[in-house]
């Protein structure tokens, strides 16, 4: 590669937070027209490094060269002028604004000094059509799904015309189809001469689109490798520093009495129409029930209704034999519910508070964390230390704010808190979103362990692999209905895919059987 081919060179980048080194002498270069993956465990320092490149953080040491010139990226604006745009791990969107307003933010279209809303919306629509990123330009951010928020975020960067795009875990919340589309988008962007840095924990995505991959571990760069000649297992081992197993080991389930009984449940959505339509569902003690479905088919509302965060319109929900329909969240929690929420930053954590306080967010009012209304800081701290240790939450100390943790470690903190309470029913919504392969392996093990200890687990995930590997039964949601409940070991990706698209169980069976038959025929033919 000639020198001029490099659009970005980061040399010896070090970033310290206090006396903690998040980045330690990291080297990274990006070739023109390349997709360069950045791989590393949770807390390895990937987002920190990219925040430096996009002007949000200043490095403690090191140099950055863009197109052969040494630059000082002092603000996101400077980065923008240099053609660097970043799609952040945690969206930088204004909740109360519409999709269009967010995309235009700072680059508003004017007509005689007035915001030109219509033409802006048209632009967004065009852009969204062009790249196949489905959004509703008029919808408010607070009303749309996490998936659509992310698409808006991606559009925002594209709108600003960046040549060097940084994607910080863009696929965490997308459905398999959407990920496929995004991969195609990235390919076509690269074909147009753009260059991409992709942070992802999903090795198959790296294999699929990336040219090279830089691995960092605990703040240090380990190696940059050619993706084509490196296997997924090699990548994973290099990243974690030990051998990782991808298979979820589990014995067959021994389900007992139901812990969660949902009858005829209807839940209205914010705008007033039915998001969950008179469904029945049951989770038994000692089993993992997976919920599969494309984003926005009522899964979120279903979970919000069970957890008491949304009102139930009609129907009943029973937890551990007690009616919890429209009860307060605290009552429901005390009846025996743990909840790993889908949106970790909105619901799961109070970001500015200390990690140790967040670890006691559900239990601060109980013994031993408080007595007669007074907090016992010592117990709270020790509890946090225990969880940090057991669940390998990476943080300089339990006194740091939750906000200072890396995305994956925030997620691990919530999971730790909820599993540790050992609830009769654990609802895990997208529990491994943003986790590295090592952490995913561990969390899956813990979920199975809950099951084996006779607890119920309700696992909602947009990732089919996860649902299929961890669940015992799978309920597929489509358009607010549970259209089928199948046994995990009797189904396959194809069938689930059809069900998720709204095809009925019999039809899906037929189609899968048919295509299997055809495969056999063609195999026979070639023979």
């Amino acid at each position: 590669m000639s020198q001029t081919n490099k659009v970005i060179e980061m040399k010896g980048i070090t970033k310290e937070f206090g006396n903690f080194r998040a980045n330690d002498n990291i080297h990274l270069d990006l070739n023109k027209g390349e997709i360069h993956a950045l791989l590393g465990e949770n807390g390895a320092g990937k987002s920190t490094l990219m925040n430096i490149l996009s002007g949000l953080l200043e490095p403690t040491e090191g140099e950055i060269w863009v197109n052969g010139n040494k630059v000082n990226i002092s603000s996101p604006d400077t980065a923008n002028q240099l053609g660097i745009g970043m799609v952040h791990q945690h969206f930088m969107l204004v909740d109360k604004f519409t999709v269009t307003e967010n995309i235009m933010l700072g680059k508003e279209k004017h007509r005689y000094g007035f915001m030109d809303q219509d033409s802006a919306e048209k632009d967004v629509q065009e852009l969204s059509d062009r790249y196949g990123l489905r959004v509703d330009p008029k919808a408010r951010i607070s009303d749309i799904s996490v998936g659509m928020q992310q698409r808006a975020e991606i559009l925002k960067t594209l709108y600003r015309g960046a040549d060097i795009l940084i994607f910080d875990e863009p696929t965490g919340v997308l459905t398999p189809q959407e990920i496929e589309e995004l991969m195609e988008i990235m390919q076509s962007l690269v074909n147009e001469g753009k260059s991409i840095i992709l942070i992802t924990h999903k090795l198959d995505e790296i294999k699929q689109v990336a040219d090279r991959c830089t691995v960092i571990r605990r703040g240090k760069s380990i190696d940059t490798v050619d993706v084509a000649t490196t296997s997924q297992q090699e990548l994973a081992d290099m990243m974690v520093g030990r051998s990782v197993s991808f298979k979820v080991d589990k014995k067959p389930a021994t389900p007992k009495d139901p812990v969660l009984e949902i009858k005829n449940l209807t839940v209205k959505e914010a705008r007033g129409y039915d998001a969950v339509k008179a469904i029945d569902l049951e989770v038994r003690a000692g089993e993992v029930l997976g919920i599969a479905g494309v984003d926005g088919n009522g899964q979120s509302q279903l979970i919000q209704a069970i957890t008491g965060l949304t009102k139930v319109d009609s129907g009943t929900i029973k937890l551990a034999g007690k009616d919890i329909t429209n009860k307060k969240p605290r009552q429901i929690t005390e009846t025996g519910l743990g909840h790993i929420p889908e949106d970790r930053q909105r619901y799961g954590l109070v970001l500015p508070m200390k990690l140790e306080e967040n670890m006691a967010l559900q239990t601060y009012y109980q013994k031993p964390f408080s007595k007669h209304g007074f907090l016992n800081h010592k117990e709270i701290k020790e509890h946090a230390k225990r969880l940090i240790e057991e669940f390998d939450v990476r943080t300089p100390s339990e006194e740091h704010s939750a906000a200072s943790l890396s995305g994956g470690n925030q997620q691990k903190a919530i999971i730790a808190r909820e599993i540790y309470r050992d609830p009769a029913l654990l609802i895990a919504a997208q529990p491994t979103r943003g986790l590295d392969v090592g952490a995913i392996e561990y969390i899956h093990k813990r979920l199975i362990e809950q099951r084996d200890n006779g607890k119920g687990v309700l696992l909602m995930s947009y990732e089919l692999d996860e649902v299929m590997n961890v669940s015992d039964r799978i309920a597929v949601m489509y358009d607010g209905n549970v259209i089928a409940v199948v046994n995990a070991d009797e189904t396959n990706e194809k069938e689930l895919g059809l069900l998720m698209a709204g095809v009925s169980l019999e039809k899906a069976h037929e189609q899968v059987a048919e295509s299997k038959g055809k495969e056999k025929e063609t195999v026979a033919d070639t023979k």
């Binding site: 040491e61 307060k328 306080e357 967010l361 209304g373």
Partner: protein, 357 residues
């Protein structure tokens, strides 16, 4: 740990810089109008710090500001804007005086306690109305507390004219309802500094204990910082809105009662809402919602307030100048963001030069 110390330092820098900038701005303005700022500031400081009487008066003013500041801060921590501190102070004041006048023969300790408690309750109820409306009907607490301010003002004036007296001033409360204590009065050469000052110090400590050591304080902080996560964690939004508003009003009411029993010994009809109410907001913002910060901000504002009296005579400067300095400090606190930006720039320049070496 280092980052946290750094953060604490940075947090302190904002109010300190605001104060300095406030004084600088005041000085520039004085220069513009042809006054000598050095003489002016000297007059203020000398006036307050060389006379036990005026120093005592400054602390007395600081006492009331501490209560209104803490009151504003507690609602603010929970995410609410209690503009009604002035009105809550007023109802606390009038009810404390009322009790003191109604039961003049009770023993001192009983009467003082009773009057203060009634003042607290009155303030709490007044703010609680806004809290309840917000909690159950979603009514904006800003608008409701503003309206309640005027209600308090006219209601109080009505009481003074028609119930507590027949004119514009009530009788003075008896010795056994007064918060003055002889040694303090003597120590400060007859100033109106009273036992309320010590109550303020105790309340500062209690506020800290409440916020950091109790489950209720934990909830108030959590709700203020992330209402979604708080409701996820089972905290009741309604309960915390009402609780924080009630506590906010209770503190303002206590401030009012102490103002009444300690400073004046009576109440008189007001033409407008008492300034100490609104200055409490400034004190809370300058103190960054930290109880000790609020205490020291109150002392600063007390000194400025009393010192302002010396400007016309000793420096030939109109005493409004002190108000302008106060206003400028508040402005710079509000411009917090600007100051952080400037500090950030300074730091990054430093880093850049260091990196270049």
């Amino acid at each position: 740990m280092l980052t946290q110390n750094n953060n604490r330092l940075n947090n302190l820098m904002v109010p300190i810089l605001s104060i300095i900038l406030g004084f600088v701005f005041g000085a520039l303005l004085m220069l513009l109008f042809g006054y000598n700022p050095i003489t002016a500031y000297q007059a203020m400081l000398d006036g307050v710090f060389t006379s036990p009487y005026f120093f005592g008066e400054a602390l007395r003013q600081a006492t009331v500001l501490t209560f209104t500041g803490l009151g504003f801060a507690i609602a603010f921590k929970a995410g609410f804007f209690n503009i009604g501190i002035a009105g809550q102070l007023l109802v606390g004041w009038v009810s404390a005086i009322w009790v003191a006048l109604a039961f003049p023969d009770l023993p001192r300790i009983v009467l003082v306690t009773l009057s203060l408690v009634v003042g607290i309750v009155a303030g709490a109820v007044w703010a609680g109305i806004a809290g309840a409306l917000r909690a159950y009907f979603g009514t904006s607490e800003v608008i409701v507390t503003i309206m309640l301010n005027y209600t308090a003002l006219h209601f109080t004036n009505y009481l003074i004219r028609n119930v507590l007296s027949t004119g514009n001033t009530t009788e003075r409360v008896g010795e056994n309802a007064s918060l003055r204590i002889d040694w303090l009065t003597n120590l400060t050469a007859g100033s109106r500094l009273n036992v309320g000052f010590f109550i303020a110090i105790i309340v500062v400590a209690l506020y800290w204990v409440f916020m950091t050591q109790t489950t209720a304080g934990f909830e108030v902080r959590a709700v203020g910082l992330n209402p979604h996560a708080s409701s996820y964690a089972g905290m009741s939004a309604a309960k915390n809105i009402i609780l924080s508003m009630v506590l906010s009003g209770a503190l303002a009411g206590l401030g009012g009662a102490i103002h009444g029993l300690g400073t004046f010994g009576n109440i008189f009809t007001q033409s407008g809402l008492p300034n100490v109410g609104f200055n409490g907001i400034a004190v809370a913002l300058l103190g960054l919602g930290n109880p000790i910060g609020i205490f020291f901000s109150s002392i600063l504002f007390g000194v400025l307030d009393v010192g302002a009296g010396f400007l016309p005579n000793r420096a030939g400067v109109p005493d409004e100048m002190a108000s302008i300095v106060i206003a400028a400090i508040i402005f710079f606190v509000g411009a917090n963001y600007l100051i952080r930006l400037i500090m950030g720039k300074l730091k990054s320049n430093k880093q850049a030069t260091e990196g270049g070496e």
